[in-house]
């Protein structure tokens, strides 16, 4: 065994990396069961229509077809993270083009797909609302007539198609604006972005002879899958065993349900295993996407650059089902002040139903949209006052003792260091000016904070007979490397190397509860539980060792490499001896556990007023500053990012290389959001549901030189001081690019993505 060193802080290769580089890692589409059938879905051709009837006879007549289910085969049960408004399939009416209307199980995928197209559905088309403005118009058709009667998990404010309205304010905004020397105001618009997890969604369900359902699916939480399937099909949770294969990335689209309820329904009906894998087009059309935002925002400051007031109003397109929308709305308002001291801030927002696919969680969770608006206004004010934009941010950056907007205490804050680091590393003070003919060069900066936290999690650590350990958390590793990070935390807490700890695959039968791999939360929240469970195990090891050595517990300690030592002496016992003792002689096998829920209040009612906010305890804060160098082709207006410097305060980097991977990946996904990606609708139909027509950046479209800078201001209760990094690096990107475009070309873009067309039009307008 190699000499032990601390496992936390090491860039250890991912624990599953060999499986992945050899192609042996099994994702949902790679799984197979004996006698397995294949599912296919029929999607709605209408944005809004009443279903009058079905004729499935032609589909059932296709050789190899085993089962067809339509809305008529389901009773009304509803799921939804915040508002229970969604069944497993369209029942009674369809609410968007692409919505599942019927499903087929057949001997092979091609047959299932062919049969699905033969199902005849009679529709009566209804008037549709395709934009939030249409949905809010007086007399607009209602997407959900029964909104009032749906179960809601928070005190939702709703009216008509607006299913969640939220107010959040602090200070006296009107008075403060009157005191401002400079006020900037504008409206901003952001587009729908597709997650494009490279693996399309899919599921495989099998019913055993006892009637239990075993379900594998692409997911970000086996427990959310269990809850959604059981709620939407009216099953007791004990009947459903939810598991995960390897997951080909998430970014938010696999957190709540996709087709798992439909696949389970098919398997229950045919009593054979059924697998369904969405095509890329189906994945585009019926999973979920990033909310389009419209943002009206006003920011004011004193002549010296001190920010005094901000007012924000947002309008979100929620699509046909509520999904995570109330959360995205509330969170976007909580983030809309930015990481600055702005004592007077008032935010109001609404999210409305439309006859489009649902919009939901996507890396950034509304923060990138409001940052695009707010961070441009910080620059505008700096420009008006002749203050360097980075200096402007430093002057107004929240100090460590200051609470977040709404009143939550912030216990670690590395924002100023992030800003200083990107200033230094990017050479901000001596940044170059336009250099080549035909190319305009500019630099932009943006800053943000993002939370990690939310809700419940738990961990169990068991000592095996030979002194090695099994860690179970129920947290799905979606590729970001949480299995590795949690293994490192567990190993370090027990002073063993990672090869002495195995991280169990999530499984609702065997794993303790974990809300999900979302909200940048696994390292921080689950990491806390793992550290706690490992500590529990460490305590039990010491107790057993003390018994073996016949000494007080206080005299023994854990030593590097998996030993118990007697303090002040060379006497040691290997863990294996302790494990043998507990398994075969005394005390019983060692099992440690820890359960927790994030519980620091978001709102301090003495400071802030919050109405309709769907969460009360959100999480701890990570911070980020980003500088980008943008080049604009003067001929076409095409903007590209040549270099980027991103500093993120992650508290403590448990695995620095994986942290860099999150920063780099977030920036590139943010560049797609900023520059090239846009879901476009033609009426109610998505016009570009293919990778031919929806363009995410490839290797040559993004800078090679993405400089990740890790800043570590430890979170007091984080595991080893760690806090989250999963989402934050994306948030600043559109704003930083927009600010760099202004620096290069003197034009402000208020609409995403910042296509060549929009940039050139702005440049020609400015000439």
């Amino acid at each position: 065994m190699s000499p032990y060193k601390n496992q936390v802080g090491q860039s250890i290769p991912k624990v599953d990396v060999r499986e992945k580089v050899t192609g042996r890692a099994a994702y949902i589409a790679d799984l197979s069961r004996p006698g397995m059938l294949h599912g296919a879905v029929l999607q709605s051709p209408y944005a809004h229509a009443r279903i009058k009837g079905y004729d499935t006879s032609k589909a059932l007549a296709v050789p190899g077809v085993r089962c067809v289910l339509t809305g008529a085969d389901f009773t009304e049960h509803f799921m939804g993270a915040f508002i229970k408004d969604e069944g497993p399939i369209a029942i009674g009416k369809v609410r968007y083009v692409g919505e599942p209307v019927a499903v087929v199980a057949a001997d092979d995928e091609r047959t299932a797909r062919r049969a699905a197209r033969l199902i005849e559905v009679e529709y009566e088309e209804l008037p549709a609302v395709l934009t939030p403005e249409e949905a809010l118009a007086p007399g607009a058709p209602l997407v959900h007539e029964d909104l009032a009667s749906y179960v809601k998990v928070f005190d939702a404010k709703f009216e008509g198609n607006a299913f969640s309205c939220t107010d959040l304010s602090e200070g006296d905004v009107d008075k403060a604006f009157a005191e401002c020397d400079v006020v900037v105001e504008g409206t901003y618009e952001t587009q729908a972005q597709y997650h494009l997890s490279l693996e399309p969604c899919g599921a495989l369900a099998e019913v055993d002879a006892n009637g239990r359902v075993h379900l594998w699916s692409a997911n970000q939480s086996v427990f959310r899958v269990q809850a959604n399937v059981c709620e939407s099909l009216g099953l007791p949770m004990s009947k459903l065993h939810s598991m995960t294969p390897k997951v080909g990335a998430g970014f938010g689209n696999k957190m709540e349900a996709h087709i798992q309820p439909l696949v389970v329904a098919l398997a229950l009906k045919v009593q054979r295993p059924v697998k369904m894998i969405l095509s890329r087009e189906e994945d585009f059309e019926m999973v979920r996407a990033r909310h389009p935002f419209k943002i009206r925002i006003r920011t004011g400051a004193r002549k010296d650059g001190t920010l005094l007031a901000r007012e924000v109003e947002t309008l979100l397109d929620g699509g046909a089902y509520a999904d995570d929308s109330p959360g995205v709305l509330g969170y976007s308002l909580l983030m809309a002040r930015g990481p600055y001291t702005i004592p007077n801030t008032r935010c109001f927002g609404r999210v409305v139903y439309t006859n489009k696919m649902r919009f939901g969680a996507f890396r950034g969770f509304g923060n990138g949209q409001v940052a695009f608006a707010g961070e441009q206004q910080i620059d505008e004010i700096a420009h008006r006052l002749g203050i360097d934009p980075l200096e402007m941010r430093l002057r107004n950056a929240m100090r460590i003792e200051e609470p977040w907007f709404g009143g939550q205490q912030v216990n670690s804050n590395g924002l100023a260091e992030c800003l200083e680091k990107v200033r230094e590393k990017s050479g901000w003070g001596r940044r170059a000016r336009p250099s080549r003919p035909g190319v305009k060069v500019g630099y932009g900066v943006a800053a943000c904070a993002h939370i990690s936290g939310l809700l419940a999690t738990s961990a169990i650590v068991r000592m095996l007979e030979d002194g090695s350990f099994v860690l179970s958390t129920g947290a799905t590793d979606i590729g970001q490397g949480s299995d590795t990070v949690l293994t490192q935390i567990c190993a370090d807490a027990l002073k063993v190397t990672v090869d002495n700890v195995v991280c169990a695959t999530p499984d609702t039968d065997g794993s303790p509860y974990n809300w999900g791999t979302t909200a940048s939360r696994v390292t921080y929240t689950t990491g806390r539980a793992v550290a706690g469970a490992a500590e529990d195990v460490g305590r039990q090891i010491k107790e057993a060792a003390a018994k073996m050595l016949n000494c007080p517990v206080g005299d023994v300690e854990l030593r590097d490499g998996g030993f118990i030592g007697v303090k002040g002496s060379n006497t040691t016992l290997p863990y294996a001896a302790v494990a043998g003792f507990t398994h075969w002689a005394s005390g019983g096998p060692i099992v440690g556990s820890k359960s927790l829920i994030y519980d620091a209040p978001t709102i301090d009612p003495r400071r802030a007023v919050a109405i309709g906010l769907p969460f009360t305890r959100i999480g701890v804060f990570s911070f980020n500053a980003l500088v980008v160098e943008v080049e604009i082709d003067e001929v076409t207006g095409k903007a590209t990012v040549a270099r980027a410097w991103s500093a993120v305060d992650v508290g403590k980097a448990i695995n620095p290389r994986l942290v860099e991977g999150q920063i780099e990946g977030g920036i590139v996904q943010g560049l797609g959001f900023a520059l090239t990606e846009e879901m476009v609708w033609d009426g109610g139909r998505l016009a570009n549901p293919t990778l031919m027509d929806y363009k995410a950046p490839g290797a040559v479209d993004v800078p090679y030189e993405i400089n990740s800078i890790i800043v570590e201001h430890p979170e007091p209760d984080g595991p080893f001081g760690a806090k989250g990094v999963g989402e934050i690096s994306l948030v600043s990107v559109p704003a930083a690019v927009a600010n760099a475009i202004f620096d290069a070309a003197g034009v402000r873009l208020h609409k995403l993505p910042m296509t060549p067309e929009r940039v050139l039009t702005a440049m020609l307008g400015a000439d």
Partner: protein, 285 residues
Amino acid sequence: MTLFLEPRTVAEAVACFRDHPEARCMSGGATLVAMMNAGLADPPAVVSLRRIAELVGIAPAADGWTKIGGMTPHRVTAAETRLAGGQAIVRLAAGRIANPPVRNMGTIGGSISFSDPAADYPAALVAADAEIEVVGSGGGRRIAAQDFFVDWYTTALEPGEIVVAVHLPPAPRAAAAYEKLVKTEGDMGIATVAAVVEMDRGACSDLRVAVGACGPHPVRLRESESDLIGGRLDADAVARLASRLAEALDPVDDVRASSDYRRKVVPRMVARAIATARARAEGEQ
């Protein structure tokens, strides 16, 4: 059920289409198989040209023309340094098609037979004054590139005819520049401009400019080009040609860009393409 046929000679291929008039022709497969996967094509038979050795390769002819076999992969065309002078426009365009794996699969004959106006070859071949050699049951013929690309996804090919070669006329003293505006590298163009310029002691002795991705087929204005022959390609003259080209376009609004933007950006791209080609032409003199 789809029949899969693999003729070994052009004559066999022609016979296949005679026997199976509903068959679809496959060269690299990138477009046809993608359509089949998407349910947009379900041909009863596929005739693959991949085993026809005589269709592969690039060969200079004694008279200065260059022949590119219809089944020559984009990778080979993109790397062919003998495609020099004005003929280089085809090499430059080939190098911007999709991405390396697709350039390994796709062929010039297959690409142009599909006649996607946003593809790279159409404008390049029109600017190159290329001729397309096709063979069918009625024998062979050569079609000028300008006449080959008829409409959106429509060529001058008669049913059963296949592209056997692309012939490029000599232009040894000219130079080429290819401008392609894309959302992301490898995507279809928002607009493309293929320019071939020859200079003779400061005066323009040959000029050919074709615009792609802005309407049903490439746009080239020979008469307006000829106005610039003998002149010095000054900015005003180039701008006149560029704006006439922009007026002649018939662009659409699509998910890549608006028609307005295409009209706005094309003259700017034309000016740069001509300037680049000119600099290359003069640098080589």
